[in-house]
Symmetry: D2
Subunit: 301 residues, 4 copies
């Protein structure tokens, strides 16, 4: 029996890269949070503090900013692929690289009824995400792209029920045939193809998710997630699977009877904690192997 170094990775997290395109009077903005990491054989750094095979995290930071200029940011996916490939192709000890990018949306200020050329308001809706994993070099190089969104907060004020559930001796919940359903959705989908128009797919997946949430008469948040996923996979052959994590943000009907008032689904208290948490994957039965696509760390969940 011996104690050995297991999986490991290192990098620079949360580089706040803001890229302005100003080639014409109408500027463009991309506002990113970029985290890069390298995987490979860095055992000497751990065992002996020998850094000779360690490209500093500061260098990774510099590369992220330099690439924002030299390559530009077409989509966060293409930017992430370029960065991850660069690290694997040019850093001898690196056998893999994981690049995670968040993008914050800005909307143009409206002035005198028209979009302004160089002023924006930060849009507080969802954050767009991607996680790119590149492994190996040359012809054997594998590229995984998992894109997603988070903090997409949705609420419907009717069209949701919850009843006829399993009970045991700890069950006190009343059934409901009309409730508020709200969630702050996290979705992540894995592409099985390259050459995707990532911006277009993103916009469409978001629209599908919102539409399913709105139009499905929901008997369970689980059901809503399944229909979201099924609709996304039906519309996008480039997506092999999609995962959802959906907190059930409880809105409890307030009991107003002590004050002589009825409350037919009109006044709610929005609760913070605890919350239900529903997680589900919708996949194709012939989805290609995910490999390391979902691994945030080198070898583990």
């Amino acid at each position: 029996m011996a104690i050995v170094l297991g999986s490991h990775q290192y990098g620079k997290a949360e580089n706040r890269v803001v890229r302005i395109y100003r080639d014409t009077a109408r500027h463009e903005i991309r506002d990113l949070n970029v985290s890069t990491s390298l995987r490979g054989n860095f055992a000497e750094a751990h065992l002996y503090g020998d850094q000779s095979r360690v490209l500093p995290t500061d260098t990774q930071k510099n590369t992220a900013f330099a690439f924002a200029k030299s390559r530009g940011i077409g989509s966060i996916e293409s930017f992430g692929i370029a960065l991850a490939r660069h690290f694997v192709d040019n850093t001898e000890p690196a056998t893999g690289s994981r690049v995670e990018v968040e993008e914050y949306a800005w909307e143009r200020a409206i002035v005198d009824g028209r979009e302004h050329d160089h002023t924006w308001l930060k849009s507080g809706c969802e954050t767009r995400t991607t996680a790119v994993t590149v492994e190996g070099t040359g012809e054997d190089q594998v590229v995984h792209v998992v894109s997603g969104l988070k903090d997409l907060t949705l609420l419907k004020s009717t069209g949701s029920e919850f009843h006829d559930f399993l009970t045991d001796e700890y069950t006190t919940l009343a059934e409901t045939h009309d409730r508020v359903l709200a969630t702050s959705l996290v979705a992540r989908w894995r592409y099985s193809e390259a050459d995707v128009d990532y911006d277009a797919v993103y916009a469409d997946v978001k629209q599908i998710v919102v539409t399913q949430f709105a139009t499905l008469h929901s008997l369970a948040l689980q059901q809503t997630l399944w229909h979201m996923g099924k609709a996304v996979l039906t519309a996008h052959p480039s997506i092999a699977e999609i995962q959802f994590s959906a907190p059930n943000k409880h809105h409890f009907v307030v009991d107003l009877e002590p004050f002589g008032l009825d409350n037919p689904g009109e006044v709610f208290i929005a609760a913070d904690r605890p919350y239900g948490l529903i997680q589900a994957t919708v996949t194709r039965d012939d989805a290609p192997d995910a490999g390391s696509a979902w691994l945030r760390s080198a070898g583990r969940a």
Copy 2:
């Protein structure tokens, strides 16, 4: 010399009141965070633990939810006024009440190109705020309304300079004739009239602020704030004064020269801390006395 009880107040903070209007198939939603407090003579509770003149904070909470049903929420200002008046008019020991309300915006989901009847996305833009103070009863009753917004994040990628500033032995800052200017604006304005269409004024103040930020060629964030305030007061006679608190959210140009790249205002790092913080009030020289309008606590800043 004696040790005495000074100013004091108590209440229930952060009641998360969600009100759905469902009288027709097209529902409406108001999503509030309501904090109420009472001011007056509650010395016995402090000195002796005697609660006989203390209306529990739990009762204040109940009242907020009951009023959401019985009075409805026309605007957060009118809702706050109704609540504060109720507490002062009906609670003998209370000589004043302060009610603060935040409102979170939701936008209707778009499904098949149309706004959905009962589904919304949480809009991440600014939060609308109000702080209502009611003092006294009957004909002597005074009502102060200070409304505002916070977390309105604005950025312009040109049209901002900073130079010819005062220097001393600790000054190392370089001048700039073209920079990114960004802020997360807090604005609060005090009404000097009643019978205001609060929703309409709010929308217009926000539009004025955004327009000034976009169109003023800025030599200083101070200048931008002044012009925002001046424009708001010019347009709205009902507003006596407006205060701004504006962090200068620094976006530093990244030095790409070591990598053989120029960077003419294209790649920035968005910094977290420290940040500049500019605060200014724009007022009318004949503004009526503010009284306790700005006091968050009973007797103090």
Copy 3:
């Protein structure tokens, strides 16, 4: 009637100054968050964008870091006074300066039973604070010091009651003769003397506050605050007044009867929102005028 510039100030917020003393093998650490601001006549910057009287916030930042070296950090109060005086004495347009400092506590790592010379764990207890205001120069210079603590989270599992309170038609709360009382205390006290041993007073005020919370059989959080304040003022003639802001962090007894279990004050759910909020000042009846001591902004609460 004219629109005019009202109160205003500007500065650099949240400079994260960490000072290591390493004159001997046993190092010392002070970990600060420093916010500085200038008050005075900066109208030209607002009205015309003229910066010629504006010392940049970047210079203020530099000064904070330079002073950490050249003057050292004896206490956060003395450091704040030195900074604020510097700005007023050396910046012609500044008639006043406000410096706010937070200090984060670190405790020495214990290794082999002994305190380590140069390794610390961040202590998560309360944050120490001060707000220094300096106005005027020369013999007329006034210095206000308001020190405090925040996020001091206290809980007692018995010795707290709440009953015999005022009721109205919205009251549903049950009385209790034994409850959990918990708060996350904010306290701020104003010194009326100079030449105070700030570190010693801080430690003693904290101890007094904790002792009163523990030993007073509480009939109301209001009563607890009063006794805290009275004890502090009794022990410290240098303190003119003390303000408390105390959220009542509710711990609700969970109803376990449906599961055949009694619950005599043993199992609670800690709630997030809403929470009670009790605020009170304890003062001397001959306290000197507070002037601008409490004003966070130039002219307002």
Copy 4:
């Protein structure tokens, strides 16, 4: 090709369970955040909204609170095991359960030099964690326990170097032979044995981690993590492997030369973002298979 439901789980997150033991005048407190979830065959809920096999998340919540009374909280690990076993043993559709618990530390108030019987201060140091996974029933039942800590913030002001690293065309970092090293450590270790004294092991692992951080002259944060892990595994045969996630919380030496001051490692600016992020696993080469021990979601990282 078909679209199918993949891995899924559901539960109630962040139940804030506070348990007071008051059998004697000297009370005890355990303050937990409990998240439970069930795994198994819940396909009908997703596909058809059929809840007949779904035990509500509300019931899971009730169970957590009831168990806090009926079973008590010996350690968070034993509490988690009891809950997870209950769900798997008594809920027919559940083939597995994941229970995650955080514990917040409280320290007794010191009053008149003695520990107080029923008053505590919240200690702000690290949070203790566990994640229990139970799969199967009867003799085949498998129990995984992964315990850990998070937010253990450590800093050493000397004894850390970084030099002789790999460079490329994007490298600008200067070498250093004496720097501040700081991190906010997350550690999670997997037990390979049952019948562990979890409280004792926790205290010892924390002490080992702190001691290694303090005493190892560090040539890299990687090296520090390796030695932490090696020492933990050497001391504790019950631990099969340990994972670390360690942000390198940069403290940059401030350049004071422009102000005529040297700065030999005395004044630093603590930076927020970006930060280095070093992650490593130290394991036994004969560690038993981890199975689902590390899986936060039903089937994925």
